[in-house]
């Protein structure tokens, strides 16, 4: 504000006198207010920040619970950074052998790496160390879980459509990096569990023909486990990965501001506006408060529930593998894929071992991840839609997309559950073979069933919406007409309600058209085929004409 004044001070005589005097503008008489305005003025005159505050403070965010899931991820990440910094003060990322001499009796005198011994010291000797360790680990689990949920919200509401395709890619890369952060962190304490996890990674790397063994030796600095890996993972865990994540989060948020937030369809909400609360004061207060709520939930969980009791696992030793050895939940899908592979897929050809029991799961998961990464571009190509979309879809109004999503979720969930096959077997008194066979079937059949069920449910819900928009809802009032006929009186939905039911876009299958040279190319056929697959079964939204027509009938 004042910067504008000083720019025009020559033209506005009224303002020049305090500027000449050097006295602050008289806004309030209270000393604190005078100090605040003076300080604000001081900063603003040197940084021109008022323009940013003005712009950003008036930024509007729509209100819906599902829009806050990304915030949960952000806040858990802040918690992770805070607690992680504390942990770096005491953790020694070294595999040099040492003899434990701390206060945990059953490990006294055991030889272990400095990494393990310092993690035990964080847990038992450093004041508050165990709590911080547990907050760090629980926050990591929540971080990735909330990213997953956030991603599902974006997917099922179609928020990844133009102009937000790149932000979807950034977000998904963040998810993969978060998995990397999680896995490197899990491996740092050098306890039995983390060592076994690394051994699986080592096995996967070695499963690649020709180069696998070389890469493994390079990674571990010699034969597994070597004395290098913890130090290397530590560098990734506290330096490289967090730096990339912070940069990408910043970019992700810049895009949110640039694109403006999406909103659900509703009266007065259009593709060109955003209806909600401004950042200042409402949203900033809510978001700030929400940070402490998330931190509070994590701190409560961490105070009451043990996570990763490394003192039970003991130091890493390549010979023992504990029953119930699992990765943290977010790596579970990969572990499950390995568990589900049928035996007999490994063979030797010309002195080289081909481990298809490893290559197939790695390939399938790679393909799955790639498909999710580029999905916005696939859908954009199929619909041929180049318009910007700022109004979110209700999942039922995009039946094929929702069905594909349901199939993907089922596929992921089946792999994920396979990672706990042994626990399912013991706790439900099943044989582990039947659990594995059931999940093998589920991985293949589950997505297909989920696809058709989800698609039909979406279409049925759309039909119901159309019915509601045209004929209103059943009021439950039965009326007998003079002629003896009974009818149930339908009551029209109100206009606000109807808006939600009718405002969506109808896509139709694309026609195959010859290009300029009069040829129908293969990509065009493919595109037409996919478009047919997406939009052949569809329910048309109720139009104004439909409504008028319906009115005349009554």
């Amino acid at each position: 504000m004042t910067i504008e004044k000083s720019k025009v001070d020559g033209l506005v005589p009224g303002t020049t006198d305090h500027l000449v005097d050097g006295a602050p503008p008289k806004i309030s008489n209270a000393p604190s207010a005078r100090f605040t305005s003076a300080a604000a003025n001081y900063i603003d005159e040197r940084t021109s920040i008022s323009a940013v505050v003005k712009e950003f403070g008036r930024k509007i965010f729509p209100d819906h619970w599902s829009f806050m899931l990304g915030e949960v991820a952000l806040y858990s990440f802040v918690v992770i950074i805070l607690t992680g910094t504390f942990l770096t003060f005491f953790f020694q990322a070294s595999m040099a052998p040492t003899v434990y001499d701390g206060s945990f009796v059953p490990l006294k005198g055991v030889e272990m790496s400095s990494a393990m011994s310092s993690t035990l010291n964080i847990s038992f000797e450093i004041r508050g160390g165990l709590l911080v360790r547990q907050i760090h680990h629980w926050a990591a689990l929540l971080f990735i879980a909330s990213i997953g949920l956030h991603m599902l919200r974006i997917y099922f509401t179609g928020a990844f459509r133009k102009p937000r395709e790149l932000n979807w890619v950034i977000g998904f890369v963040l998810f993969i990096l978060a998995l990397g952060e999680g896995f490197t962190g899990y491996s740092l304490p050098d306890d039995l569990l983390s060592g076994n996890g690394l051994r699986i990674i080592d096995g996967m790397v070695k499963g690649f023909p020709f180069v696998g063994t070389w890469i493994s030796y390079l990674l571990f600095g010699g034969e597994f486990p070597g004395e290098q890996i913890v130090g290397r993972l530590y560098t990734l865990h506290i330096l490289l990965l967090p730096a990339i994540i912070v940069a990408l989060i910043a970019l992700h948020l810049v895009f949110v501001v640039v694109h403006k937030h999406t909103q659900y369809a509703g009266p007065g909400k259009t593709n060109d506006n955003v209806i909600g609360y401004p950042v200042l004061p409402v949203y900033a207060a809510k978001a700030g408060g929400f940070f402490f709520i998330v931190f509070g939930i994590i701190a409560l969980i961490a105070s009451f529930f043990t996570i990763n009791p490394i003192w039970n696992y003991g130091p890493y030793d390549p010979s023992p593998v504990s029953a119930g050895t699992q990765p943290d939940w977010y790596i579970g899908f990969a572990d499950g894929a390995l568990r589900l592979m049928p035996p007999g897929l490994e063979f030797v050809l010309w002195d080289h071992t081909y481990s298809f029991n490893i290559l197939i799961p790695v390939g399938v998961l790679g393909l799955f991840i790639l498909t999710v990464l580029i999905y916005p571009f696939i859908e954009g190509w199929v619909t041929g839609d180049k318009r910007e979309h700022h109004i979110l879809d209700r999942p039922r109004n995009a039946p094929t997309r929702t069905a594909i999503g349901a199939a993907g979720v089922t596929f992921y969930a089946a792999l994920w559950s396979a990672a706990s096959s042994d626990i399912l077997a013991t706790h439900f008194q099943l044989s582990i073979e039947s659990v594995i066979h059931a999940i093998q079937a589920l991985v293949i059949l589950g997505p297909i069933i989920a696809y058709f069920v989800a698609k039909r449910v979406c279409l049925a819900l759309q039909k119901k919406d159309r019915e509601m928009a045209l004929h209103g809802f059943e009021s439950g009032r039965i009326v007998r007409l003079p002629g003896g006929e009974y009818i149930e009186v339908h009551q029209d939905v109100d206009e606000y309600e109807r808006w939600k039911l009718v405002s969506f876009h109808e896509y139709k299958p694309l026609m195959v058209r010859p290009n300029a040279r009069g040829k129908i190319t293969a990509p065009q056929r493919l595109r037409a085929g996919m478009s047919k697959w997406f939009f052949e079964d569809r329910i048309a939204p109720v139009t104004r004409a439909d409504l008028e027509h319906q009115k005349q009938l009554h």
Partner: protein
Amino acid sequence: MARTSRKANRRHPLATVVLIAIGLAFTGGGYALFSSTATADSNVAASQATVEEGSKLFAANCATCHGMNLEGSAAGPNLLGVGAASVDFQVGTGRMPLAMQGPQAMQKPPQFTEEQTAALAAYVASLSPGPAVPTDSQIADTGDATNGGELFRINCAMCHNVAGAGGALTEGKFAPELTGVDSKYVYEAMLSGPQNMPVFNDHNITPEDKRDIITYLKYLQNNPSPGGFELGNLGPVAEGLFIWIFGIGAVVALTVWLTAKSN
């Protein structure tokens, strides 16, 4: 002088007590000596009456599958040489008699009293020698927990889990949870290798090592996790389930609350 002579003639007030104590010590000690030499002599001579009772119980409850002379049948294994330890474990934990044929014998409330179990054990041991029920000193939790922990991780954890939470085996079999299991049964299980468990005989894991393992297990049992509730000691699966149900559940509930329209 007079005082001492008078004292010499009088019995001390506690003399009777001392005399009785000495008498009891002699008879009791003598009896103990006799009975211990009797057991050391041979399991058969333990008590003919006990063996006799065990024989009857065996014929009525076990012989259908294990045969009248412990020779076994298609339905149950040969019991020659399994020893008292095995009988005490199987019957004392309720695994035997079987409720039904299945992948493995399930634990249930024991069907026999301690005396009856001891009688069965004495009977089985009387027909052919085998590992005996451990003494109290063998299962005392006064060993070296560190050594026990290392041995446990190397020998036991792959089936029973590092924290003794149990784990799955093939074809519906499983390694049971070890928390709350009586030290005697842990020792007997190592000695006799019940169900699918391998035998850890005294050459493999010495009695001292067995005591160390028991000490470690008791340490875990008596010292709850410093980090709070243990979630069944099931590791990352339980942790993941917890964060998805309670962590995400709480967070979503609060987002709904934060964005709720005020009425």
